[in-house]
Symmetry: D2
Subunit: 477 residues, 4 copies
């Protein structure tokens, strides 16, 4: 397994293809280092004995100890562990662990490649296993690139005026294919080793060119990463805090005639398995949300508890009711993830797949409540998150004393700690990271309406209808 | 194990002490037979191979096969099974399985009697084990009587102007005690073999006389069952349907100087274990709610699916969104029950106790959503549940044809089936049973505010506060 | 103006055509007398000086003082008064005033008949004015019959396999027409003098036979009223209370070849004005909901306040928050009605029409919250509404004392008053009336989805889109 | 009346006392110019005939035409106009009009000064009238400074260890008083001419030193404005858009021994009228929220309509339902403001005071729904607001074409307009302004729990309780 330094060293050596704030920057740029903080955690905490067991797994391929984020789930326990570690790391970074994506897409491909081979006698699973070995042995970080721009929503991929609105094969060669198109909303692609591409949706028989899944180094020729950053509020150094170590750069990832060699192609034209890969990535990722959103919930609950303590209102009934509401949102989502593992099943590839209904009701509940959770934090915090003077004023020789004096609340807590608590609230309610987490909380892994569709497609509603008929005394018709 | 006939035969022989509609009636009265329909199911379905495994268990005491509703949970699997069978039976009866209460209170007492003995070297667990053997061997049905009238809410039990507002010991004899008081909201006490009494709340040291738990035959001298019925809408016989077999009689159960022999006293003065019994019953019962409310949800979903089918609007997006909402409520609650089992722990008595937080967030979510679920059913049903002419008109030689004509909707479904479906909706939205289920859905096992309290008492909020401090860079204070 | 005795006398003389509980009954049947309680109030309170001004108006036709429920609104103040009186009477009857319907449909026809005449030079408005004079002078009570059974929802009226699924003209004669079909959900048709029929929806050009609006005496040959009752819980006489005076009978109203003379036909084939009449009735009725739902809210708030007082929890923060929520629902709906009057406009007929958006957002908010309001009442009430022994037990020489003892809570309130308060809660949460009010609360006047449609049809969303374009700097496209 | 240039000129001449980003800056700093954009609108649009009538009023003092934001409401129509103009200006600035505060506090003081004089024969109203004349004639802009830091929440003002946690009089002189303390969350104080101070809460008899209300030039000696900014996302100039003209600077306003001459003191020790001023400011400001929040709602609706159009999903049922929800939130709040005006009453000073209940239920509904509204916008927008590359990339010669290509959706809309629409969504969901508006939407003018308190204090709940007693047949007790 790698250390975070090794991870960063490799990033630093990659070809520059990240565009941010009007500049082409390298992966050793301070913003990239900053944004990759959560990824770094996934390496650093392996050595922390509180996390070793959660963060590592035994490869079913090699029997070696590997980072859990490169593991293919073999059992209910693996699903429990992935959910748990995701929650822990999200709470410790106050945001998004980011590395789950690569793990989720690899698990999805483990199943779809095998199923394609079983039906079509193709060679995808072997190729994918070879890539998996490389992935695990080099402890790689992968971004999953799924969402296409989609152009005109009323038209299918093959009917778009601009055919590039969905990633597709533009040239087929003996040794591989050339792809063109773009993927939106690619969290951490700017600091991933690899980008793994799967389709965004189910495809029709005549959309073979769009039925393409592959892995590609993130700095490959023809790839452009067009970034958008999200960081917590800036602070002067004397007020630095763990929360400010984390952030995120999203990218619009452009594939401008990128060559993909055969060995890295995992689906190529088998539309039903391209669709399966898409759905399975969503499923594994929704199960991950059942870990990450409770982790974010932990942070919000903690912030509420901290400010309630500093304000001396911890015991107030309406505060406790709102805390119970935060607990309830987080733990129901977490419970759904647990139930998804309990009711999981094994694919022909041996991969353990979470129960569809539970993973989806969990993700859906998280998505429906994300703004509600922030609303509660805002409610308890008062106006200070939006009006707190920032560190320039805290450190001012003229007005710094006023800031400290008037941010103080109860005896026994220093002015600095009062300020630090208020600043955390400001970070949690008014920073770029929060806006990104709100949008991701609604849409990441598929918005609630996508979960509605997934639930209704897989739920046995006919059994319920038959129950109603039975109760009503309807024997036929 | 008994058959339902044996159960009913025993009921018929019991002393008359049930008052309903201004009359003193026997337990062979048609209303009692009707109300006990769901209990009868718990006997009848043992022989149905689809249910045998769920409905039976192996006694940890005798090694014999017993009805699961008399079982003491020994493992995670037992908790899974109890939740599952509860859901199934509630869905099949379209209402409340009722028999869970006795099981839940027996499990609570299994723990509290053992813990009391361990601390005080008392003899409660042996007494209770003896009663358990009798309970299991005779396949008994028990009501749990917990909620006291409580009189003046601003005063503790010992300070009430009327001391009987909480059940308490009024006389202590060498061979037992005499108790007085009453218990409210006792579902199925009118057709239970036994009533098992536990306190309603935590008690103070000076409230020893209130710290009493015991089992007593439901027709004992001094017990008055003052009933209130809830049935589905009446139908003439040709329109009978399974749903109409079920119903419920609640009682205000009065203990007017009832003698309890020592062998049936399970806590007597040990206030902390009286409180523990109270809390544990609530906990086991909230875990049961994680089964029963999804069972009710199955019925509501089924009714929505049926009417949507008959109206030809099954594929409408807004219908499907609302169905997904019903699924989500039911399955989140169910998931919480599963998670409570996964994170369960074993008491010194060997009893498996569900996780407190998960059982409570599950019950809480059910309680917060019960009216919301009916609101959805109402929304899809249209006005017909409230205005459907009942069976007297359906069977009328004059207007029956009109009823059949104008209740018909789509081709391929008979007028009778259209009517039966509409009648089920009427039963589910406008009957006494529904009103009872709504109130029980909010308050049974403790209303959402009680779950808030339970959650906040057991959740490690300090760990979350420490997390917030860590993220904020607060090292002390 | 009539007295309620005169109203009842006339009912008693009407032809028997009401079918209920398997019987053909007269309008002097005790159930009809009971169900018409709220209508009787509209006569009785005219003489009560607290209500005279609200309950009467000056006819714009005759200049005479008339009952406001027969009035055509001439001004903003008339709309205020109608909303206010509706609220008052609903709160005083604890349920539904019922008589608003006739008023709302007459106002709708005042506009549509005039508009039809203006376009087609027809004679509808004169006919309608003549009927209005008769209606006002005789202080009549009218049911509006709007909702057709609609048969197969995927087919339009003219395409139904059974053409009677929408009321339509089956024969045209020189002196009138013969109609056939049925109307659902007709509140108070069983004790109305007149039934006024309007279509249920917008109609296509080829649906002229369905474009029919008329008034007909409720006991006319060919009309069958197939009833469904809703009353509060039964009580023995010593416990009678004002709330128990009220109730409701709904009917499925069948028109089995009913002759309508020309003078009572108000639209006949002008499909666009048939549709206008339908929409306007809905609009006036939604405005009425902005009065009646707050009136019901008053009752729920009052019940919460009463039980909170008797339990001694009036000052508890969470009780007060929930009361504030009830106030907020009621007063927002009421405010929407006021705003609808403030932004009302005058039709060519002189009728004052409420603003569409405000009337609809008010009705919609009421519909979305009706179950929520009951949920709050249930939450505060505890389990007692569902388990309270009824008056047979209260009056029992054996157990009556127990009932009184154990229903008592705080000093200073008699056992009877405690019982009466608990019984009111039982009536409000578990009676047939409540079920009917819940269904009506969702669907009466059109369910929330109908309001969504009405809002989106009339709201100037393009102005908002232009605003967004302006803010975005989009000047064309 | 002034022009915006005159307003800015005066700002430029004021003493520098604003601290932002670690610097002491003048009021001619670009950030101040930017933040005051909405205030400038209130001057600029006076000359725009679409707004002249709304934006001006006739002074009841001088009979001259004045800016409405300096007007004292004399009638229902004045309240309608203030609400309307507030909505319009908020929608046009995509944020907060800001200038309402000064108007609201002046109206509050008009009442409280008069009432104090009536009781104590003081001279406050004359002083205040003199100040009003100056205020109106010079067309001034005032910030209201109300919220004190409050220190230890469990202690009253007079019991704080640090007495400065509430603004208070530290020295009394013949010609005035010296005050010390601070006020939090002062929107637009950094670019106001005047700061008007009122207490934050009701005060006890012994808290006379805290019972102080006054007006003071914002750059007076001893005043420190410690700022916090909020702007929309930065854009390169070719992409400028009206929305980016607006923003906000909040301040922590410190009064470090500030002298207030007698003529500018409006309450001084009369604790009940200090409390009345506090409550009345809140009331007028909540009524303003009934205008501003619908204005913000207009922007959100418009943005949804625009993106739905560009995505070609305008007609989708679930989109329309969500739009109807946005309309409903906005128009219910607006309706509450209208109703507050309809049910307004006149104070002894002649000032028209909005109805307390309606203003509060309106503000409360807005506060409860603010995050919900953003949640809807987020739901429809998809992930793009959080991942859209900003203008540096749009303008990049290397990747700009990719940005334009992949942000395009439907034919007929230019790439730039697609980008502008997406950028507006990014501004509305991820900018500093939005975070500020969310926090202000919950807390500005008092958070929903404050409205609960205001509602419950003024609502006649006893009348409702009496109604319940009447319905229950409870005649006494």
């Amino acid at each position: 397994m790698r250390t975070s330094s090794e991870y960063l060293d490799k990033l630093a050596r990659m070809r520059k293809n990240l565009y941010l704030d009007g500049e082409l920057i390298g992966r050793d740029h301070p913003k990239v280092l900053h944004a990759s903080g959560a990824i770094q955690l996934t390496f650093d905490l392996v050595a922390d004995e509180r996390f070793t067991d959660l963060l590592t797994a035994t490869s079913h391929l090699t029997g070696r100890k590997i980072n859990r984020f490169t593991h293919i789930h073999q059992s209910q326990e693996d699903l429990f562990a992935k959910q748990e570690v995701t929650r822990k790391l999200c709470s410790l970074s106050g945001s998004c662990v980011q590395r789950c994506m690569g793990c989720d897409v690899m698990n999805a491909l483990s199943v779809a490649t095998k199923n394609a081979d079983l039906k079509y006698d193709t060679d995808y699973h072997r190729r994918w296993l070879k890539f998996l070995r490389y992935f695990q042995e080099n402890d790689l970080v992968a971004a999953c690139a799924q969402t296409d721009p989609k152009g005109d929503r009323s038209k299918r991929p093959a009917d778009q005026p601009d055919p590039d609105q969905y990633v597709h094969v533009v040239e087929r060669r003996p040794d591989g294919v050339v792809v063109r198109g773009a993927k939106l909303h690619n969290t951490m692609a700017p600091y991933a080793d690899e980008i793994i591409v799967v389709p965004t949706r189910a495809l029709a028989k005549n959309e073979k060119d769009y039925a393409i899944a592959f892995a590609v180094p993130a700095d490959s020729e023809g790839i452009y990463l067009i970034g958008r950053q999200a960081f917590f509020l800036p602070r002067e150094e004397n007020l630095a805090a763990p929360v400010t170590r984390y952030g995120d750069i999203e990218s619009l990832t452009v594939f401008d005639n990128v060559f993909i060699p055969n060995e890295r192609i995992f689906i190529n034209g088998e539309t039903e398995f391209a669709g399966e890969a898409a759905l399975l990535f969503a499923l594994f990722h929704r199960h991950s949300y059942c870990g990450c959103k409770p982790g974010l919930g932990d942070v919000l609950m903690g912030a509420v508890a901290l400010i309630a303590d500093y304000l001396g209102v911890e015991k107030k009934e309406h505060i406790r009711e709102k805390q119970a509401e935060l607990v309830s949102v987080a733990e129901l989502v977490f419970a759904a993830g647990i139930a998804a593992a309990v009711k999981s099943f094994q694919a022909p590839s041996g991969t353990q797949i979470p129960n569809i209904v539970f993973a989806n009701v969990g993700r859906r509940h998280a998505g429906h409540n994300i703004y509600h959770e922030y609303s509660i934090l805002c409610d308890i915090s008062g106006g200070i998150p939006a009006t707190l003077p920032l560190s320039g004023e805290y450190n001012s020789p003229v007005v710094g004393d006023f800031v400290r004096k008037y941010v103080s609340r109860r005896a026994g807590v220093s002015a600095e700690n009062h300020y630090r608590a208020a600043h955390l609230l400001a970070d949690l309610l008014t920073s770029e990271v929060t806006a990104a987490l709100q949008v991701a909380g609604v849409h990441g892994g598929g918005s609630p309406i996508m979960e509605d569709i997934a639930i209704m497609s897989s739920y046995d509603m006919n059994a319920k209808k038959d129950l109603a008929k039975y109760l009503a005394g309807i024997t036929e018709g």
